[in-house]
Symmetry: D2
Subunit: 409 residues, 4 copies
């Protein structure tokens, strides 16, 4: 029988190492021992961190050196009608969706919710995944450019063999294409996979490793790193903003002028102007890859609620917002180039995250495979569009009221 305090003492004494506790106790006890140790070593009282609602054992694939749980407030926005009034082909999402949002930033959920309400008044939004594929781009070292050209040629001629090697490692993933990039004696190969309803980094990494093994066997290239940063995972990178990673998804809505005026207290013209000066020209001058107001806010909150990878908020900020006056009404859109989401695997299996995916109605694998993750991407993009509308309207109405004041002087 193990006592957390005893275990903590053994770690402090150097008898055990912090990460070895699970070898000597069940996961809950190990976590308790770590809390005990930290409480002794620091001034912290870890009562709330220790009061978590998931099973420490179940969280084992998600964390090491576990001490407990972090808790964030969760709100909800919606319902948001998406793709309801389509005549021709349609998106993956269809119907009304609630979007759970975990955040500590006051006013965010209210902002998104106000936008959702306006979208409802406008008859709903449309959304589409326009490109899809999870990538991994290893870097190989060759002797020089002559050899690089030969390796690239080999890869282009043997894509089928690479596909076979890669797909042997996965029951779901499909290799879509391999794009070579050469820089001196470096050959980068960007593998792009259809990872269905999984975000797919693990699947894709394993499958790419198998393809790399084949390349090393058959060519003179030597693998230096399974990720050569042309993937590009969790780094702001133009390659993702341009070519996409995960889902490239757009949501849009046309809001009648009277709705803009009555609900948002501004005009389509004022919103379009704010968008052009701030999101287009301002971002241009900032050397940005993100031409939006605060898409990352909604993406982050939705990611945290539904068990996505929080560090991939970086790619989720590669988004362009447009706003224009069409026949007197406001047309607005948000296009996220690289939204990396899944409805299976990773953090989606944790309890609050599972429940949140149930709120959206998109937990687990879709039918056909991939359709749930597609739909989730469309829902998050629409939620982020709602957040854009709300913030732009706030800026524009302030501006308008200020203009009114000026006239009143």
């Amino acid at each position: 029988m193990t006592d957390p305090a005893d275990l903590a003492e053994r770690v402090r004494g150097g008898d055990l190492r912090l990460h070895e506790l699970e070898e000597h106790a069940d996961p809950e006890t190990a976590a308790a021992a770590r809390r005990h140790l930290l409480e002794t070593e620091t001034d912290a009282d870890l009562e709330t961190i220790g009061d978590f609602s998931f099973s420490a054992g179940d969280a084992d694939p998600n964390v090491e050196n576990m001490i407990g749980g972090a808790q964030l407030p969760m709100g909800v926005a919606g319902p948001i009608p998406i793709n309801e009034n389509e005549e021709g082909g349609s998106g993956a999402a269809e119907g009304e969706y609630y979007l759970p949002l975990a955040t500590s930033e006051g006013a965010l959920v209210a902002s998104v919710n106000r936008g959702c309400s306006v979208i409802r008044s406008a008859g709903g939004a449309n959304a589409r995944v326009t490109k899809s594929g999870m990538t991994r781009a290893p870097v190989f070292r060759v002797s020089g450019i002559a050899e690089a050209a030969e390796v690239v040629e080999w890869v282009e001629e043997n894509t089928e063999a690479l596909r076979e090697a890669a797909e042997e490692t996965t029951s779901h993933g499909e290799l879509l294409d391999v794009t070579p990039y050469v820089v001196g004696d470096n050959v980068f190969l960007r593998f792009r996979f259809d990872s269905k309803d999984a975000m797919g980094m693990n699947m894709v990494t394993i499958a790419t490793q198998a393809a790399c093994d084949l390349i090393e066997d058959e060519t003179t290239a030597s693998l230096v790193a399974l990720s050569g940063n042309l993937c590009s995972d969790k780094k702001p990178a133009a390659i993702n903003a341009i070519e996409g990673r995960g889902r490239s998804v757009t949501a849009d809505v046309t809001i009648p002028r009277e709705v803009v005026e009555e609900r948002l207290h501004t005009t389509p013209e004022a919103i379009a102007e704010a968008n052009t000066r701030k999101n287009l020209i301002g971002s241009a001058k900032a050397g940005a890859l993100g031409f939006n107001a605060h898409a990352a806010n909604t993406v982050a909150a939705a990611f945290l609620a539904t068990g996505q990878d929080a560090a991939q908020v970086v790619e989720g900020a590669n988004a362009i917002t447009t706003a224009e006056v069409k026949d007197g009404d406001l047309y607005a859109s948000l296009s996220i180039a690289s939204l990396e989401v899944g409805t299976v695997g990773g953090g989606t299996k944790l309890p609050t995250q599972t429940e949140a995916l149930d709120v959206v109605g998109l937990r687990g694998g879709g039918d056909p495979p991939g359709s749930n993750a597609d739909a989730l991407a469309e829902v998050i993009a629409t939620g982020a569009l709602a957040g854009e509308l709300s913030l732009l309207a706030a800026l524009a109405s302030r501006h308008l009221s200020s203009a009114h004041e000026e006239l009143g002087r």
Copy 2:
């Protein structure tokens, strides 16, 4: 007395709106009513989301339309010795730090922890905040470039008046400088403040508004948006990667060759090569603003644990990792250009987040003001450096073992 089910029914019936529940019930009950509504409207069972450990009322500044809490596993890495062996001036952090990390990505905490262990074996890391300042950049409309030049001139001549106006709104914040950027009939002014131990967005936004009021009073410029995206908040943008936002912070370490070989099973040369090919050349080819392996992972996990803004992980990914062989040993560094952290305000007041800050030993205002947030930036940067070392070593040792295999053939 209010029953959640009754309230939910009134929302469903259109009698109440989702965000009005707090007007008719206490915060806990309002959240319960929303859960009830969602459980009825969807297939979700929100038991775990409802089982949270903070007070719904206390979370009111952090969320709206609250339904409960999201829970993420939290682990811990460390201890990490930082700035212990300094002779001259020193950083804000000094001593050994534990770093709590909230994540659902398996292997992340283990990776960071391994890196911390290697840093300990190397005698500790150094870290410094080299630049500091929270920014807000409003955009003004003028009649054209002639007027733009006049407005810019006015601003440059009246910086002192702008400072007074701005600082009247805050007891802590100090205006550091105002940098003008002109694009056609748009004048952007990037206000930079010392926000002390607060991340500072709110403080800075309010103070900038006051300065904008003065500009609108005294010049012909009209404010279009209080944020003109040259700030740049929660968007990947070169202006942050170059000029910084929040803290610009670097951590570095020199690891003796024998430690690299024995603990990381590779060589300084192999790590330097992997870093150059992947983090420098690969990121260059990707059109990146982030030249690192996975700094965003550590930043995100530390942000979630300690109550930072998850969407600002975007800026936290603007980081450059270097690795080189110096006198046979490995010198490695991580420089994050725009790490936006605070030890007061925002999500830092939530219970698990407060406890996590206590684990780091950096909760609340520092002495002198700003020193706690500086130290937190240094600790996170060092943790992220540990994660870089661990991943680079994994790549390099795999490569090395593969090279050995080749020799064995």
Copy 3:
């Protein structure tokens, strides 16, 4: 019979407009009339501008409102041995090349020439075009994302019809692929063509227009601009740095240590260090798309000498230089992502430019078509690599001598 002075007087009097002179006089006289006008209206004496060596009539496709010629000094660097010692497949260039360079920047030709000399001492360079294709990316307006998805689908299903329409307009050009990008109600289609030995902008623009006509006929999309800036022509843009435009070309060389020491007065290590700190880390921090020392210098001078488009120097600066120590020797490479060159058409038909192409030995169409432009790209890249080596060595040797001084203190 027309007198320049009389014509100039008629322009001054408002009887004729400046651009109408060719309707009333032969090209030489029209140019003389304009010079006369300018000499009267300003303090200029245009004697040298009027003393040009090409036929005003022949220059008609290249300029309007002609007043004469600009003259730039032209030097020559070389010979540069390229792809001489290949065993397997080889590049387009093969043999020794002289590279003419037109410039007003003192020391540039000397710098490139010194690099060429070192490359000769090292046994020559290798060079390869690793990707090729001239692009044009029109932007279409659609009603929204639902329609955008349909248009993209139509394009993907009708690429063959687009190819036929496009290729009907050209005897040489071949459509390689069409890549769609969607942003809200904008559909961008990046058409990529093999333009053989022509730089190809004109050919590609005409062919793309034909394809756009078909799209407008068959879908609901409306063409807004034949160039939607995803091409991207004459703008610094990551899409070119990543995906290439014109030729993606790499040149490399391995320089024995003794050559580095004796000829460049430095060491492989010092050059590699300077390259990493300046071209990789410095450019990373600058938010750059160009990770080189001064590739644009050589590109610009070669472009001006050989009749390329001077504004496309912008894309020619999207280049990455690498330098590393391999087995004690120096391996260096330069990879230009988007070098837009031709050996037929445009400015290549002007007299001094034609002669300069003869100096390189690559005037006119190649056999097979495209091989001359490929070879020219390889020669320019190798010349630019020579310039990189020379400048890096100058930096490193200064550094070394300074280090020696320090030791001597």
Copy 4:
């Protein structure tokens, strides 16, 4: 007495090296000898290259290994009225300007000239230099971040001493500021100078070297490269697009609706739409630093005509074009962030270039110093704005006519 053929033979025989010819003959003969050599070694006939109008001796500071001259057709656009109707403060340019343009791209001069004509009809343009300063950014190596922080502190405390050291080397240049950037063990210092009427690279490089000597004397930092690429010279880099280099200059114009309709055959609305979809949204999606249609075309042609550095066209492409409808009229602007121009030094002393500067009326030093280069920047920016207007109108009118056709169906 030296015969070119004999000299060429001696080079071919290895008795002389190509760059040593000036030691054995006058500059004209040396150039003739090189032409002779190239004519023998290749199939080229260099008659036109040998028929140049400048003195070979005078061109000595501009080129080495000279073989003759490159000749490009030169046209002229204008006159362009700039800053004529100002009430308050004004720009550096004032009056009507002709802009000489050297190019081989057909239609370019016509396009710019049409735009100038429209600007005249609109009553002229305004233009302003809003920021000015030539930069050089050396990179220093330090032992690590602790030392880096100390060096930065020393620099900040000793800016006055650095100014003295730098300004001792120049009679004109003034150090404006020094901005430090730290990446690991690299310290970059961006020196910014007022270089008056000179483009200033040489002046600034020499002055920065003097400052670096002081830093190496007084601190532990070691200079690795006098240019650390944060300058950033001749590379596409966000730091220039954001912070400027050389002159940051904007030109703008308001064109009455009837002028747009009658002269450009389109509407303000159509031009604004084309600009938004192409120059703003298209460039955003391209990961661009240039948000314009073809500013580099005008910049390149003006640079070649007036003796600027052709490779700095790279920075001249960092430009944003805006277009909007204001009270029914068209407001359009072009803001070039980093236009590097001079009216003294470098290529401005060559004969055709001197004459071209006389056409603009801006040759030599201005009164006050710097005002000529400021004015030249304003003229070039206005010319480039004219080119933008012309191209946007061509796109929009095509679109309009096509729309008319549709209505006619």
